[in-house]
């Protein structure tokens, strides 16, 4: 909602960049493990995805149409536990409203919110209760639009209409197939609240515009995240050099920006394909899906060249990106020499990006890799089926074979196996898939590994600089005195602590999610 963070326009120097990463990792990342751990016991409400999406839009105010308890806890949306949505108006439905309807309360609340905040956009977010009692939220928004000089849009955010386990399973399977083709999966699943906001904005807010050549929209959630902003700034810089202008960044923008989104020639989308397709149908805006295959030196090049090609700027894109890539390669070459003196093992979470991360380590950084460790814990925590997990691992291994990586892939290593592997190499770069191994040369890269997920060469260079510096200076090994190392962890679900209550709750969730989601899409 109305919070706007100033983006730094001046480039950061190297020290600033790393300091900002660690600052962000410390100050906002403090909740990250807790959030992910809690995802292993349940998932958040669809409503929270909608609240989060709404909070990205400058000048928008979401109204929760439901009991106060929904707004009470949705202020703490899991995507940004470090920055609650403090002002979240609610209609506070009570039993009377459940019997007689809550429409008048909704009307009153919309008028009150407008008087108080004068927003450009009010998003009406129904809850389970208002969804069940059948309030005509669309009708009310139509009525009030005529009375108020702001846009009013209902969003389908009823909590019981969440996605199902089967749909996630299908998405994972399609992702695994995409590793072999390098084509982004085109698998539609029901949104988790964010997509519903995007689709509704396309349907109800965006306006027909004269299309401006060579202008793009970039889907970019992350107003409150440092990493997203830096990535966006780099993409903009390179686009600018190619001759591509940014029409807007959805939804990290103003309400007017959203209205004018159809002025772009092309949408660059990541997760919200439905909205991209809908804009294509409604306004003729082309779309391009940015996917995991657009990471790494070749992936980044491919991204800019493909986008340039879509806009008739293929030549310009190639020229600029070759120059950028050459510069990056020159810088990387220095670090590769350092890396070549050591032998490494790497551990990574098994998910959409894993093959591409392996590629960055092996091809771009030219790390002498002996072992590449993959964990399927996260997949299991999302109740991905064993069949799908097996397919993902098989496809990943096929890709590694095709790409002729010489390392050994180790799936779900135990703590002892990790320790043994670490002994067999000079350094184990760990993304924390197991408890910290002490007494070995383990380097925790979890704070900086997201640099490898940027759509610019600078992230890879920055990561390499960090790694080379640590190798040069030496690292302090995790010590046996670490308090963190004194706990016993669940072997299958790190970092869940070994506790029968936690294990039972984890199993309950797994069982009930499988059972309860059968009716989903």
């Amino acid at each position: 909602m109305q919070i706007s963070l100033e983006m730094r326009d001046t480039p950061l120097d190297d020290t600033d960049e790393l300091r900002e990463i660690f600052r962000d990792h410390t100050l906002t990342g403090i909740f990250q493990t807790a959030t992910w751990q809690y995802h292993r016991y349940c998932i958040n409400c669809k409503l929270s995805g909608s609240v989060y999406a709404a909070s990205e839009i400058e000048g928008a105010v979401p109204i929760i149409h439901g009991p106060s308890g929904c707004a009470f806890h949705q202020r703490l949306t899991p995507m940004r536990l470090y920055a609650p949505v403090y002002k979240l108006p609610c209609t506070n439905l009570d039993e009377n409203d459940v019997i007689y309807g809550g429409e008048s309360k909704l009307r009153d609340k919309v008028l009150e919110v407008y008087r108080r905040y004068k927003p450009s956009l009010i998003l009406l977010l129904p809850t389970c209760v208002s969804g069940l009692i059948g309030d005509d939220i669309s009708g009310i928004s139509q009525d009030l639009k005529a009375q108020l000089p702001c846009s009013i849009i209902p969003i389908a955010s009823e909590g019981f209409a969440h996605r199902s386990r089967e749909s996630l399973d299908g998405l994972m399977q399609e992702s695994a197939k995409s590793w072999k083709t390098s084509r982004a999966p085109d698998y539609e699943i029901r949104g988790c609240g964010q997509e519903e906001v995007m689709v509704s904005l396309v349907e109800q807010l965006m306006e027909e515009q004269d299309v401006v050549d060579k202008q793009v929209n970039i889907e970019s959630f992350g107003r409150f995240r440092y990493g997203s902003q830096v990535d966006l700034r780099e993409i903009k810089r390179i686009f600018n050099e190619i001759g591509i202008g940014i029409n807007t960044t959805l939804l990290n923008c103003t309400v007017d920006d959203i209205k004018r989104a159809p002025a772009a020639e092309l949408n660059i989308i990541t997760r919200n394909r439905k909205a991209g397709k809908l804009m294509n149908t409604k306004f003729g805006t082309g779309y391009f899906r940015k996917w995991a295959s657009h990471y790494g030196l070749d992936g980044i090049e491919k991204f800019f060249v493909e986008v340039g090609s879509k806009l008739g700027l293929e030549g310009e894109a190639e020229e600029i990106i070759q120059r950028e890539k050459r510069q990056a390669m020159e810088e990387l070459e220095r670090y590769r020499k350092t890396f070549s003196k050591f032998e490494f093992a790497v551990s990574a979470q098994g998910f959409f990006f894993t093959p591409y991360i392996a590629s960055i380590y092996a091809r771009d950084l030219r790390l002498p890799l002996k072992y590449f460790c993959v964990s399927t814990q996260l997949l299991r925590s999302m109740n991905t089926s064993e069949k799908t997990i097996k397919m993902m691992i098989d496809n990943m291994q096929d890709v590694f074979d095709d790409w002729d990586f010489g390392f050994e892939t180790v799936v779900n290593p135990s703590l002892d196996e990790m320790a043994e592997m670490a002994k067999g190499v000079d350094y184990l770069l760990s993304d924390r898939i197991t408890p910290l191994i002490y007494g070995n040369r383990m380097m925790d890269v979890s704070a900086v590994s997201h640099l490898l997920f940027r759509t610019s060469f600078s992230g890879i260079v920055e990561f390499s600089r960090y790694l080379a510096r640590n190798l040069h200076n030496g690292i302090s090994e995790p010590s046996g005195d670490l308090i963190l190392s004194k706990f016993h962890y669940d072997q299958l679900n790190y970092p869940i602590i070994e506790d029968p209550r936690c294990s039972a709750s984890r199993e309950m969730w797994s069982d009930m999610w499988s059972l309860g989601s059968a009716g989903g899409d």
Partner: protein, 385 residues
């Protein structure tokens, strides 16, 4: 903003520390209530849900509940399952009692209806406690023993406060029998052994029912913040039991002497206080013992919008929940967190209470440190220069 009846019922239920809380709700309600509780203890996860989806909306959630009960009975090493039914099953009309009756379970099961739209967090708490009365057993009374009623396991500093309160009681010759709701199932069942129920802030309905059913009298006292608040608690209990203890003689002013000049300087500070029932007692401590001027006091019992009043006041410090950070930031004043929900501070040291005599010292220390370390004060001065 009130958390609603479901949150209150969940908090009361999860205070039975060895029970499983089975929420008969869609995923989001379980996430919210559980996530907020997990801020107090990340390794105490005992809640699960029936994952009500569209299918349950159409066909009813009874089958999901049945399956969940069977699984919870098998998976958890716990004596009790507490089923808390939220908004959705109450609207679609699941026959929860019939489902519970239809399955053979090893564990005891207690259920309650807790639709968020049917009441406040406080009412959910009260109703949940009343639901626990049937498991309480008539037992021999332990002389000079009390139950404390009104606590939740995710209250800020609850363990530290209880330790201090128990210490004060023990020094007065009073044993604490059960703390409701922050006790085991066995302790809950044995609650009628107490000679007196001491209600702090909430849980009066439970105390009334225990009086009717077991003949246990009850008293209502404020939360024992400060030296005076501590004395009030001890006096109330001692008077009732005829024990007689002059707490004033035991008060150690030495810690306060070390910072008496600061106390002199913060005297008269205009302050606003917001929170659950703790707020009133906090305001009394600040006013009576530190000499603060209470500008706005809100206990969140209704939809009262205190924000504008606070903004229009001279408040120089705000006492509240984590959700008041934004207001404090806007007003460029420090926030002292003391009331649920608190999700941006941790409270893991059980010897640093806010309640009781020791709590008065810790609380004063926190207030002074918050004021003196407030990062915005110098930038504010720079702006004015």
């Amino acid at each position: 903003m009130d958390g609603g009846k479901f949150f209150g019922a969940f908090r009361a239920s999860s205070g039975i520390t060895d029970a499983v809380v089975l929420n008969h709700v869609p995923v989001g309600c379980n996430w919210g209530a559980g996530m907020f509780k997990s801020f107090s203890n990340q390794s105490d996860i005992r809640n699960a849900c029936t994952v009500m989806h569209e299918r349950e909306i159409v066909f009813g959630g009874e089958e999901s509940l049945r399956e969940a009960l069977i699984r919870a009975d098998r998976l958890y090493d716990a004596p009790l399952i507490l089923v808390v039914a939220g908004d959705v099953p109450c609207i679609i009309g699941d026959d929860i009692e019939a489902v519970i009756g239809s399955v053979s379970l090893k564990k005891d099961v207690i259920w309650m209806e807790a639709a968020g739209f049917r009441g406040s967090m406080r009412s959910g708490y009260e109703d949940a406690l009343i639901n626990l009365v049937p498991v309480m057993e008539q037992c021999d009374q332990a002389a000079n023993s009390v139950n404390f009623i009104g606590f939740c396991p995710d209250d800020f500093k609850v363990e530290a406060d209880l330790r201090e309160i128990k210490r004060l009681m023990m020094d007065s010759g009073v044993a604490v029998n059960s703390v409701i709701s922050n006790c085991s199932y066995e302790e809950l069942k044995m609650a009628p052994a107490a000679e007196l129920n001491v209600v702090i802030g909430q849980g009066t309905e439970l105390a009334k029912q225990m009086k009717d059913k077991f003949g246990i009298p009850y008293i209502e006292v404020g939360y024992p913040y400060g030296l005076r608040g501590s004395r009030d608690l001890i006096d109330a209990v001692s008077d009732h039991m005829g024990l007689g203890r002059d707490l004033d003689r035991e008060i150690d002013l030495q810690p306060f002497e070390k910072i008496y000049l600061y106390l002199n300087d913060i005297y008269g500070t205009p302050t606003s206080v917001v929170g659950d029932f703790h707020a009133k007692s906090m305001a009394e401590f600040l006013c009576r013992e530190l000499g603060f001027e209470i500008e706005v006091l809100s206990t969140l019992d209704d939809d009262y919008n205190f924000e504008e009043e606070v903004k229009n006041s001279n408040s120089a410090i705000l006492f509240g929940t984590s959700f008041e950070q934004d207001l404090a930031k806007e007003m460029r004043i420090p926030l002292v967190r003391f009331s649920y929900p608190i999700f941006d501070q941790v409270w893991i040291y059980d010897d640093a209470p806010y309640a009781g005599l020791r709590g008065a010292v810790c609380l004063t220390e926190t207030i002074l440190n918050t004021v003196m370390g407030f990062e915005d004060k110098l930038s504010d001065l720079e702006l004015r220069a």
